[in-house]
């Protein structure tokens, strides 16, 4: 089954590549001022790998962006999951926090960028803060929903067995909510990448978003595509890693669903 799925996926990617090549290089329907051809993409990629672009090599840009995403995501997860679990467990906490959430949630994370730059300048701290804000919400909401959706008898069974408070959180509440928590983590990770690129577009001196910004000013479609593809690949790789962690942590659940 997996082999067949992978085959279909590869075929799709290959056809998109061929279509791209046909449209730009062979027929010229799409001019190179609008979208780069595979050859132009190759030239841009070669340039950034060998001589660098926007002040640094591709690896340096990518590592910097990755670092910010991981830090913002980590801060969001470490703060968001406990808050979500707590809100799910104690209705009073939910009653306190929810009104604030209702007002803050509709504000797009990107709207925090001006304030973040005002507070923390154009450096990394402002970007980490914005990523944190963006990634925080899905982590909280899903951890909260995860606790609320636990079957009542499971909680009652643990109480009947005399489970003390801290063990209850660690061995019952957290694992029972884990499938939802991981859904939240995936959304948080996605939000982290989206927000990072946007934050780097606005003000940065290094990073994948900065490549995009510079390449736009240089009217350099080939390099724009390099930046986009790099974001795509890193986003996919981090999501894949998260998926692996989920498979390991939720082995019991994956098997239970099959």
């Amino acid at each position: 089954m997996v082999g067949r799925r992978a085959g279909i996926g590869l075929t799709t990617v290959a056809s998109v590549g061929v279509t791209w090549w046909l449209l730009t290089s062979v027929t010229g329907i799409v001019g190179s001022a609008r979208f780069p051809s595979p050859a132009e993409f190759g030239v841009s990629l070669n340039q950034i790998l060998t001589r660098g672009y926007a002040g640094a090599g591709l690896a340096q840009h990518a590592v910097h962006s990755l670092k910010l995403v991981v830090m913002g995501f980590a801060v969001a997860v470490v703060t968001g999951i406990p808050l979500g679990l707590w809100m799910g467990w104690d209705r009073r906490v939910e009653a306190c926090v929810n009104p604030i959430f209702l007002v803050i949630r509709p504000i797009p994370p990107l709207a925090w960028i001006p304030l973040a730059i005002l507070w923390l300048g154009l450096g990394d701290a402002a970007k980490i803060m914005v990523i944190w804000f963006a990634a925080f919400v899905p982590s909280v909401i899903n951890a909260f929903a995860g606790v609320r959706n636990i079957d009542r008898p499971v909680i009652e069974a643990a109480r009947m067995l005399g489970t003390p408070r801290w063990r209850m959180v660690r061995e019952i509440i957290a694992p029972a909510a884990a499938p939802m928590i991981f859904t939240g983590l995936r959304l948080s990770l996605q939000a982290s990448w989206t927000t990072l690129v946007a934050a780097e577009l606005v003000g940065a001196l290094v990073g994948l978003g900065f490549i995009l910004n510079m390449a736009q000013q240089d009217i350099y479609p080939g390099m724009i595509l390099v930046g986009m593809v790099a974001v795509g690949i890193l986003g996919w790789a981090t999501t894949w890693l998260l998926g692996q962690a989920e498979r390991r942590a939720l082995a019991w659940n994956v098997a239970a669903r099959d």
């Binding site: 008898p153 067995l161 005399g162 061995e171 019952i172 239970a256």
Partner: protein
């Protein structure tokens, strides 16, 4: 081993003045090592009775006590077996049974001995390291029973424990429970809507009215079982053929049917 006492217990869901009254003046004494089954039409509040002994619900008025102590919260002295098993799917069978023992802060070697005994008692030895989803419903309920038994509770509370099982599995579990109850009698409060099950398992059967539930009648099954020597049979169908069994069953059926009639069903 403990006793259970309901003294003038009323239960109203919602506000005391405008809520739904589910239990009306329940008085019931369950002696040490006695097996009492409560039967009644659905929604009559029989499960609420059990949940109050477990400490999941508080009576609106009246007192529920176990061995003379008023129940205030859940605890391992009152082990519950739930209809939907309520196992922890992320824990192995062994870890499910172990949790209550760990909560009692027992040393590891003692826990291992107790778990080994419980696994043997419920014929689960070869499944100790399995996860619940790898087991059939009947096996999962064995785990839940083992998890309750291993605590050596004052009382055992069983809330329609075989209601989610298929007919053949249910019969096997009923026969095993009788075997357990005869070897090592415990104080059991057993909730069911299956009349045969109640007569087969219990020392006494309490029949409840429709909502608001009252105890309408309490039947002494043990006297009949002993005088007619039901225990000479191992199989439930042999007992169910006995005239004395049929007589009790029919009596309960009539009594319950009156309740359904009163409900207009």
């Amino acid at each position: 081993m403990g006793s259970i006492r309901f003294q003038g217990v009323n239960k109203v869901f919602g506000p005391a003045s405008s809520g739904v009254k589910v239990l009306d003046d329940i008085n019931l004494d369950i002696a040490e090592r006695e097996f009492v089954a409560i039967v009644g039409p659905s929604g009559c509040g029989k499960t609420t009775c059990l949940r109050m002994v477990a400490g999941f619900e508080a009576p609106t008025s009246g007192i529920v006590s176990v061995s003379g102590r008023t129940v205030t919260e859940p605890g391992p002295d009152r082990a519950v077996v739930f209809q939907q098993f309520a196992l922890f799917p992320w824990k192995t069978v062994r870890a499910n049974i172990d949790l209550g023992l760990r909560n009692k802060n027992l040393p590891k070697d003692q826990r291992d001995d107790l778990i080994a005994n419980a696994l043997k008692l419920m014929n689960l030895e070869s499944h100790a390291e399995a996860f619940p989803h790898q087991l059939s419903g009947g096996m999962q309920q064995r785990v839940a029973i083992a998890r309750a038994y291993v605590l050596d509770p004052e009382v055992l509370l069983m809330d329609e424990p075989f209601g989610a099982l298929d007919a053949q599995t249910r019969v096997v579990m009923q026969e095993e429970l009788v075997r357990l109850a005869r070897v090592n009698p415990r104080t059991v409060l057993f909730i069911t809507h299956a009349v045969e099950e109640a007569v087969y398992l219990a020392d006494r059967v309490a029949i409840m009215t429709r909502r608001p539930g009252r105890i309408k009648e309490i039947l002494d099954v043990r006297t009949v079982r002993q005088s007619e020597n039901w225990d000479r049979f191992n199989k439930i169908e042999d007992v169910m053929d006995l005239e004395s069994f049929v007589h009790l069953r029919t009596h309960i059926w009539r009594s319950l049917r009156e309740e359904k009639g009163a409900q207009g069903v």
